[in-house]
């Protein structure tokens, strides 16, 4: 079982309770205004990468999945959308195709962890801590990308949803947020009172979380007052991911000092009758990403969105028209700085002897190589050994 103690929060951020200077806030926010932003999306449950980016050029793909393969491009209504003559996109991801064609979306195949676990919990833990095989790591890699010290926005790191994602736990303050609109104490007087009670608490963990919360409430106040209207005709799907991305876009455009954001979407564990469920989920997934891209418009130049899932699924379908736990998976990166329009990574093949343990897509690119390139190339965080301790990059993926 993983050790997850909470953190004594970094006290580099000046304590600011009632009567804190709005000038302080202005400065902190201004200092991050033109900064690069990273949005990470976790597909929890081990998404079936082989049916998301379809290796239609592989005979073994069709041989191993007689009941659940996605048809070759041009083979009818539910056929894959051609990408490069070998790979195709699942048809439910059609909203992402134009972004790939504009070369703003890159796909990296056969990514994963050097750790062999097929446990959802452990694999997610490793992918969020950034230290495969090491359970004792207390903080997450996304928190470690944050620079230390100086004046920082209280919402520089945001985790969408009712829980703070493992990957954002750590010494730097990070906020979990259900909804921007409801992010307030309903009774203003009570809010002030609670703020001082948390500030005075001898419980360092609760005191730290209280401080982060009340600072973020103050900063997001102006956003709560107006209804957010996405730009560029973007329509976000109603599901959790769409609504998370919509609010992340809102915070980016409001220049509140956001640097990294995390959103997740569960339900990718398709052991049974995979096709209809995957199709629906991918539509929400693709439409959400596309809406975000559209909404941000030119601002997308400063943003990279990356997607990951803890491991892939068996190359062959199982006995229930689904797939069981596998190994390598596919990752997406979308944004202005991405060298897109390509399917990157070394493809290991799907013939039995090419498979990992005779059953799963083999890992040819460490997930930290992909994230590392984004962290250094996009965020400009050069201390990769701090973000991924014990890891040495194996050369360029060609993403940024």
């Amino acid at each position: 079982m993983a050790t997850r103690r909470a953190f004594l929060k970094n006290s580099g951020v000046a304590m600011f309770g009632i009567g804190a200077s709005p000038v302080w806030l202005e400065r902190a926010v201004a200092s991050t205004r033109s900064k690069k932003i990273l949005v990470t999306i976790f597909q929890r449950g081990a998404a079936d990468g082989l049916n998301i980016v379809v290796p239609h050029g592989e005979k073994a793909y069709y041989a191993g999945r007689p009941g659940i393969a996605i048809g070759k491009p041009g083979s009818g209504e539910n056929a894959a959308l051609e990408l490069d003559g070998f790979f195709g996109l699942h048809p439910s991801l059609k909203a992402l195709k134009p972004i790939f064609d504009e070369k703003k979306l890159a796909i990296v195949e056969a990514c994963g962890s050097p750790d062999a676990t097929r446990s959802h919990f452990d694999a997610q833990d490793y992918m969020e801590s950034g230290t495969p095989g090491v359970k004792a790591t207390r903080d997450g890699w996304l928190n470690r990308t944050l620079g230390k010290g100086g004046e920082r926005s209280p919402v520089r790191a945001v985790s969408m949803g009712p829980m703070l994602a493992r990957t954002l736990r750590g010494t730097e303050p990070a906020v979990a947020l259900n909804s921007v609109k409801d992010f307030q104490v309903r009774d203003k007087m009570a809010g002030e009172e609670f703020m001082s009670r948390y500030a005075a608490s001898a419980d360092t963990q609760l005191k730290g979380t209280g401080k982060e919360t009340f600072e973020a409430i103050r900063l997001l106040e102006s956003l709560r007052k107006t209804e957010y209207a996405p730009a560029g005709g973007a329509v976000y799907p109603n599901g959790r991911l769409g609504q998370s991305l919509k609010q992340i876009a809102q915070m980016i455009k409001a220049d509140v000092g956001l640097e990294v954001a995390f959103a997740d979407l569960g339900g990718w564990d398709h052991h049974v009758n995979e096709l209809p469920v995957l199709s629906n989920m991918l539509r929400e997934f693709g439409d959400s990403l596309a809406a975000f891209y559209q909404d941000l418009g030119a601002r997308m130049e400063d943003v990279v969105v990356t997607t990951m899932s803890e491991f892939g699924r068996t190359a062959r379908e199982n006995g229930s028209r689904g797939t069981d736990h596998g190994h390598a998976n596919v990752m997406f990166a979308m944004g202005g700085g991405v060298k897109g329009g390509k399917v990157l990574g070394k493809w290991p093949g799907l013939e039995r002897e090419q498979l990992y343990e005779g059953r799963d897509l083999a890992v040819t690119t460490d997930f930290r190589d992909v994230l590392g390139e984004i962290v250094t190339g996009h965020l400009g965080q050069k201390e990769l050994s701090r973000v991924f301790p014990g890891f040495t990059a194996k050369g360029s993926v060609g993403l940024i």
């Binding site: 959802h120 004792a136 109603n238």
Partner: protein, 527 residues
């Protein structure tokens, strides 16, 4: 390189470790002991509880809670449970009286019989008409889907608001005719909160919550919507202070678990082509086999391999459900079972064992030392501290092994330990959202007429009841609940409780308003 990191971490943790170890030796005062046992063995103290426990003596009170059958149950609770008829029905009865969409379609198509009872018959007729109309509309216009979605959502929201202001009784009546299916989930959720707040057998309720979460199923996964009521009642509740092995067996054969982790679809590889028609081609499914070892018994580092997962899956082929969409029961189907020889964790299971293969697997797993440790550590994490002392876990594991997995004996070892009543355990854990809300309702002596709004508050804090989609269940590590979204939800709950603004809940404002508000403060978040 990896060794270096580990070393650095060990060094960093060392001073903390020594400090923590000393705290688990430090005794609590009498008052602290009373406060502590009430905060751990119950969902929180009610007014007057501390005095009662003090009078009885801490040890005696613990022993009483370990024997819930000796405690007279609250009549107020029994009256509430009486309002919710679904709690007592079998899954087959639920499927008929609270028809599922599949059931309605089956009746509409003449594949199932229309019920005899005239009132039920009327409901069936009305609802299956609605289904037919919906199917026709769908065929007609796909382009209006979005509008329809919005309209549907509007209706649902209105319904939700209306239901929110009703009493449990009114809601039960309303749902029975409008949306019977929803009544099953609503009553299960409401009952959980009524029990947490009102039951005199508090430890029993805490343990039902703990073990349900250990053997988690997800209420919103298909047939589990109407299989979960029986699951908690028949596969979890009877065993929480009994033999662990009995609970594993009961969950393994429960339709809810068979459906949730897909084992009901798993058949022998060589039987693949025998199913009628191409669409029915089926074979092995590893899902249950893996989680049985990783999450229910051995633990992820308990010493099993991928090969063991496959072998265990083979042993459980043919463990299925008779018509899950109609609330069917467990059934073993010998003809799709893998009859070959298997080897599980080095133990040979001879060919031709049939249903006994799965039973044998369970015997191997529950007797395994990894299971003794895994179960003990998890209990200690819930009742003692997020990082429970290893010495205590070892003693609990020894009791587990010696007693053949007797959970009452394991609990007794833990609750009578020095570590449990120590400064290391005292107020060491963050309350889960359920503990926070149920505890607040108990402490303020709240009168409850509908517990759905409270359940909604718990969901906003991050713990929707019966709705953890992943088989891991919610974390037992209290610190996972520590974040800004959760904190804010806790504060807002306390504010609306103190102002009597929460539907279905009423407190005596003169006496308890200030206390209720205080529940948003840091001091209230730990137990």
């Amino acid at each position: 390189m990896r060794n270096k990191i580990c070393l650095a971490l060990v060094v960093a943790l060392l001073p903390l470790g020594v400090d923590a170890a000393a705290k688990f030796k430090q005794k609590l005062s009498k008052d602290q002991q009373v406060e502590h046992v009430l905060s751990r063995l119950s969902f929180g103290a009610r007014p007057g509880d501390a005095e009662r426990v003090e009078k009885m003596g801490v040890r005696k009170w613990i022993e009483q809670q370990l024997n819930p059958e000796t405690i007279v149950e609250s009549t107020a609770l029994e009256a509430k449970l009486q309002l919710m008829p679904t709690l007592k029905l079998s899954t087959e009865q639920l499927a008929v009286r609270y028809p599922t969409p599949q059931m309605l379609v089956a009746v509409a198509m003449g594949r199932a019989k229309m019920p005899e009872d005239p009132e039920l018959r009327a409901t069936y007729e009305r609802l299956s008409e609605r289904y037919k109309a919906r199917i026709d509309r769908k065929k007609d216009k796909k382009e209006n889907e979005e509008e329809e979605e919005v309209a549907k959502k509007g209706i649902e929201d209105r319904l939700k608001r209306r239901l929110g202001s009703m009493t449990t009784e009114q809601r039960a009546e309303a749902l029975r005719t409008i949306a019977p299916q929803q009544a099953v989930a609503a009553e299960l959720t409401e009952a959980k909160l009524y029990r947490a707040v009102l039951s005199e057998r508090q430890l029993n309720e805490v343990l039902v919550d703990f073990w349900f979460n250990h053997f988690n199923v997800f209420l919103d996964k298909g047939a589990d919507k109407w299989l979960t009521t029986s699951y908690e009642r028949d596969a979890i509740r009877p065993y929480v202070l009994g033999k662990f092995g009995d609970m594993v067996k009961a969950t393994a054969q429960s339709p809810a678990m068979l459906f949730y982790l897909d084992n009901w679809t798993s058949i022998a590889e060589d039987k693949r082509k025998r199913g009628p028609g191409k669409g029915k081609a089926r074979g092995l499914n590893e899902n249950y086999a893996r989680e049985l070892m990783e999450l229910h018994t051995l633990g992820v580092d308990g010493g099993y391999t991928q090969k063991d997962v496959q072998e265990v899956a083979r042993c459980f082929t043919g463990w299925t459900i008779e018509e899950p969409n109609r609330g069917g029961q467990f059934r073993f189907v010998g003809k799709v079972h893998d009859q070959g020889e298997k080897t599980v964790l080095g133990v040979k299971i001879p060919a031709g064992g049939g249903i006994e293969d799965g039973m044998k697997v369970i015997e191997i797993l529950i007797a395994h030392p990894s299971t003794a440790k895994f179960v003990s550590r998890k209990l200690a994490q819930r009742f003692v501290a997020d990082e429970p002392p290893q010495e205590l876990v070892d003693r609990m594991a020894a009791t587990y092994s010696k007693s053949g997995g007797d959970l009452k004996a394991v609990m007794r070892t833990m609750l009578e330990s020095r570590e449990f009543l120590s400064a290391g355990a005292y107020k060491a854990k963050m309350k889960s959202p359920l503990e926070m809300v149920a505890g607040a309702l108990r402490a303020t002596g709240a009168t409850l007429t509908n517990t759905m709004p409270a359940a909604q508050a718990i969901a906003t804090m991050g713990q929707p009841l019966y709705r953890k989609a992943e088989p891991t269940g919610y974390s037992n590590n209290g610190e996972e609940w520590l974040n800004s979204a959760g904190l804010l939800a806790r504060i807002n709950f306390a504010v609306s409780l103190s102002e009597n603004k929460m539907a279905g809940v009423k407190i005596d404002a003169d006496r308890y308003s200030a206390m209720a508000k205080n529940m948003g403060a840091p001091e209230w978040q730990r137990r």
